[in-house]
C-alpha cells in the first residue's frame, strides 16, 4: 500500500473555485410521447414477446394499484402505495436483467416484482397479511419479498438496502457468479448516510451493482430542491467512481437500454453504475398522504401527459404489436384477476400464534418458549379478546387432548 495520489498532475496558480453544479448531465431519452423514436435514436433490441410482457406488467400494476387504493379507502386494508407514473422505471430496468440477478427495492417497485413473476395471489396474501403471506403477516402492505424470485424483502427504514446491495454484489463477485445486483431507491433516500456508504464502498471495492435512483420529484411532501443542491443524484456518481447515466424514467425503451448496458459493465467489468431515472409520482406518497397540501394540480397534469404506460403503448401500436382493443380487453382481465384474488386473500386466516415468536432466531430460545407459552395461556384465559388466534388455539388444544 502507498499513497497513490497524483498531486503534481495539474497545478494552477489562481484560486479558481469550482461552481456548484446545477444541471449538466443530460437525460437519455429515445421515445417521444406519441410512440415514435426521436430522429437519430435507435430502439434497443427488444423482442415482441418481451415488449408485450413489459406492457402486460404495466397493465397489471395499474389494475392492482387502482383496486388496492380503492380497497384502502373502503377500509379493507390499512395502507397502500401506488407507483402510478413510475412503472417504466422499475419494470423496464428489471426487464433488462437476468432472473438470477438480485433486486433490492425500496417499496415503490411492484413492477419489477410482477415482471419477475410474483403472482396476483402472492401480492394479495402479503397485502392482507394472511397466513399464506411469504412474510408471515409481519410487515405492512407492500413489503414484498421472495427468495425464489431474488427479490429481497422490503424494509421500511430508508436507504438501508444500499450498502446491503454493495455487500450482496461483493458476494456474487466472491463466489464468481456472473450476476449483478440492482438497488432501487428514491431521491429522498439518497440523502441518508447509507447512500454515501453504499456507493463509496461499491466504487472502492468494485462490485457488480447497479444503483437505480427513482427521482420522482418528491419525498413525501419535500420537493427535490429542498432535498439536495447540485445536479440531482446523478451528479454524485462520478465522484464515487461510478459510471453514471441520467435517463428519462418515463421512457420504457431508454430505461431498458440504459440498464442493459449498465448490467454489462457491472457483470463483465465489476464496474458499479449509477442510473438516475427522472420521473414523477403521479399519485399520493401513500394512502395516508394528500398531495394537494404541497403541489399543484397543474404540475400533476403536466406529468400526466408524460405517462410512461401510454408512451410505450403508443410505440407497441406503431410497431403493429398491439391494438387498443387488445388493451381494453387485457385491462378488464387484470381487473377481474385482481378482484378475484382479493376475495380469496381476504378470506384466509391470519398467521398462527407461533408466527409471533418464530424467526426471531433460527430456533426458539428458552425465553421465547416461555413467552409463547404465557401468550397461549393468556389467550385461552381470555378467548373473547383474541378472536384471530383463540379459536385455533382451542381447537389445537382439544385436538391434542
Amino acid at each position: 500500500m502507498s499513497d497513490l495520489r497524483n498531486l503534481d498532475v495539474e497545478l494552477v496558480h489562481q484560486p479558481a473555485f469550482l461552481d456548484p453544479v446545477t444541471s449538466v448531465i443530460p437525460t437519455f431519452r429515445l421515445l417521444q410521447q406519441d410512440g415514435t423514436l426521436y430522429p437519430g435514436a435507435q430502439a434497443p433490441d427488444m423482442s415482441q414477446e418481451l415488449a408485450l410482457k413489459i406492457h402486460d406488467t404495466f397493465l397489471f400494476i395499474r389494475a392492482l394499484d387502482e383496486r388496492m387504493l380503492a380497497s384502502q379507502r373502503q377500509g379493507r386494508i390499512s395502507f397502500y402505495m401506488t407507483q402510478t407514473g413510475e412503472e417504466a422505471s422499475d419494470t423496464c430496468s428489471a426487464a433488462a436483467l437476468d432472473a438470477g440477478d438480485v433486486i433490492f427495492a425500496q417499496y415503490r417497485e411492484q413492477g419489477a416484482l410482477a415482471f419477475r413473476g410474483f403472482s396476483v395471489d402472492q401480492f394479495m396474501n402479503q397485502i392482507f397479511s394472511n397466513h399464506k403471506d411469504l412474510g408471515k403477516g409481519r410487515q405492512m402492505p407492500i413489503h414484498y419479498g421472495s427468495r425464489e424470485l431474488n427479490y429481497v424483502t422490503i424494509s421500511s427504514p430508508l436507504g438501508t438496502q444500499i450498502p446491503q446491495a454493495t455487500g450482496y454484489a461483493f458476494g456474487f463477485r466472491q463466489s464468481q457468479q456472473k450476476q449483478c445486483v440492482i438497488c432501487y431507491f428514491g431521491e429522498g433516500a439518497a440523502s441518508e448516510g447509507d447512500f454515501h456508504a453504499g456507493l463509496n464502498m461499491a466504487g472502492v471495492l468494485k462490485v457488480p451493482v447497479i444503483f437505480f435512483c427513482r427521482n420522482n420529484g418528491y419525498a413525501i411532501s419535500t420537493p427535490v430542491h429542498e432535498q439536495l443542491a447540485g445536479d440531482g443524484v446523478a451528479g454524485r456518481g462520478p465522484g464515487y467512481g461510478l459510471k453514471t447515466l441520467r435517463v428519462d424514467g418515463n421512457d420504457a425503451l431508454a430505461v431498458y437500454e440504459a440498464t442493459r448496458l449498465a448490467r454489462q459493465m457491472a457483470v463483465e467489468e465489476h464496474q458499479p453504475v449509477l442510473i438516475e431515472s427522472m420521473t414523477y409520482r403521479l399519485g399520493a406518497h401513500s394512502s395516508s398522504d394528500d398531495p394537494s397540501g404541497y403541489r399543484s394540480r397543474k404540475e400533476e397534469d403536466q406529468w400526466r401527459d408524460k405517462d410512461p404506460v401510454a408512451r410505450f403503448r403508443n410505440w407497441l401500436i406503431k410497431q403493429g404489436w398491439w391494438t387498443d382493443a387488445q388493451d381494453q380487453a387485457r385491462q378488464a382481465e387484470h381487473r377481474k384477476a385482481v378482484a378475484d384474488a382479493m376475495k380469496r386473500a381476504e378470506k384466509l386466516d391470519s398467521p398462527p400464534l407461533e408466527d409471533l415468536f418464530s424467526d426471531v432466531y433460527d430456533l426458539l430460545p428458552w425465553h421465547l418458549q416461555q413467552q409463547q407459552q404465557q401468550a397461549r395461556e393468556h389467550i385461552l384465559r381470555h378467548p373473547q379478546a383474541y378472536p384471530a388466534t383463540a379459536p385455533r388455539l382451542k381447537a389445537a388444544g382439544e385436538g391434542k387432548a
Binding site: 394472511n130 441518508e192 413525501i220 389467550i379 384471530a388
Partner: protein, 325 residues
Amino acid sequence: MSQMNLLQAINSALDTAMKQDERVLCFGEDVGAFGGVFRATSHLQEKYGKHRCFNTPLTEQGIIGFANGLATQGQVPVAEIQFADYIFPAFDQIVNETAKYRYRSGNEFNVGSLTIRTPYGGGIHGGLYHSQSPEAYFTHTPGLKVVVPRNPEQAKGLLLASIRDDNPVLFFEPKKLYRAAVGEVPDEDYTLPLGQAEVLREGTDVTLVAWGAQVQAIEKAAELAAEAGISCEVIDLRTLLPWDHDTLATSLKKTGRLIINHEAPRTSGFGAELAASLQESCFLYLESPILRVTGWDTPFPLALEKEYFPNELRTLDAIKASVGY
C-alpha cells in the same frame, strides 16, 4: 382552556414556545409547509417563516447533527424524527454527541437547549417499523432526559418544560393517541415538572406503573381489578430519565406489590431498571415479586399485534398473580 387532541396540544406547545422565544426552531422531514406527516407542526412555517420552521433533507443523522450544532450556537432546536423507528440512524449523534457534549468539554459547550420530538408506539397497524418504543435504549445513556406524555394536557406542559430545560430531552409522543386522546388544555403558557411521576389513582393492594399510551392499559386494568375487589394505585412515570424513585418507592412501600407495564420488548426494557432498583430499595416491603407486563421479545408484529400487546387483560392477569402469590 380548549378541547384539543394530543397533536393539537403538541402544536400549541410549539407555537407557544416559538412565540415566546425567537431562538426556538422546528425542523425535520416534511415539517415545513406541509406541517409534518402527522401535522404536529401545522401552520408554524406560515406564522414564523421558513427560517424557523423548515424541511430538512431525509437524513436523521444529519437532522440531529445539525441540531447539536444549532444548540451549541445558542439556538433552541426542536428537531422532529418522523417515527421513533427511524431514530436509529441518529443514534451516534444522540448517544455519543448530544449526551456527552457538556461532560466531555467540561461545560465549555453544551446542547442543553435541544429537544428531540418523535412519535412512538404501536396500535396503528404499523408493523415492525412504525410501532417501536425505543425509549429504553436512551435510558442507558447518561446526559439525556427522556419524557413521555400520556394525554394532551400533559403533552403541552411537558413539551414546554422539555424545550426550556437546560438538558437535551428526548420527547416520545404516543402516536396512537395523537387523535384519539382529547381533553381540556390550557391555552396559556405552562409547564409541568420533569423528573416527577404522577399518581393518577390511589390504591392499597398493588402499584401499577406505566408511561405514555400504556397508562390507559393500567388504568383500565385498575378498573377491572377494582371490580374483583383489588385496589390499585396507578402511576404515570412521565419522565424515564432521570426517573422519580421516591414516588414509586413510597407507593410500593404502601402496597407491597408492583407491576410495570411497557410496550417495548421485555428484555432490557425500562421495566428492568425499575424492577432492579425498587427490589433493592424496597426489599423488605415486597410481598410478591415485581412483575413486568410488556411486549414480547420479538420485533413488533402486524397481523398478531393484538397478541403482542401488553394490554389491560395481561395486566389484570399479572395483578391477580401478584395478589395471589
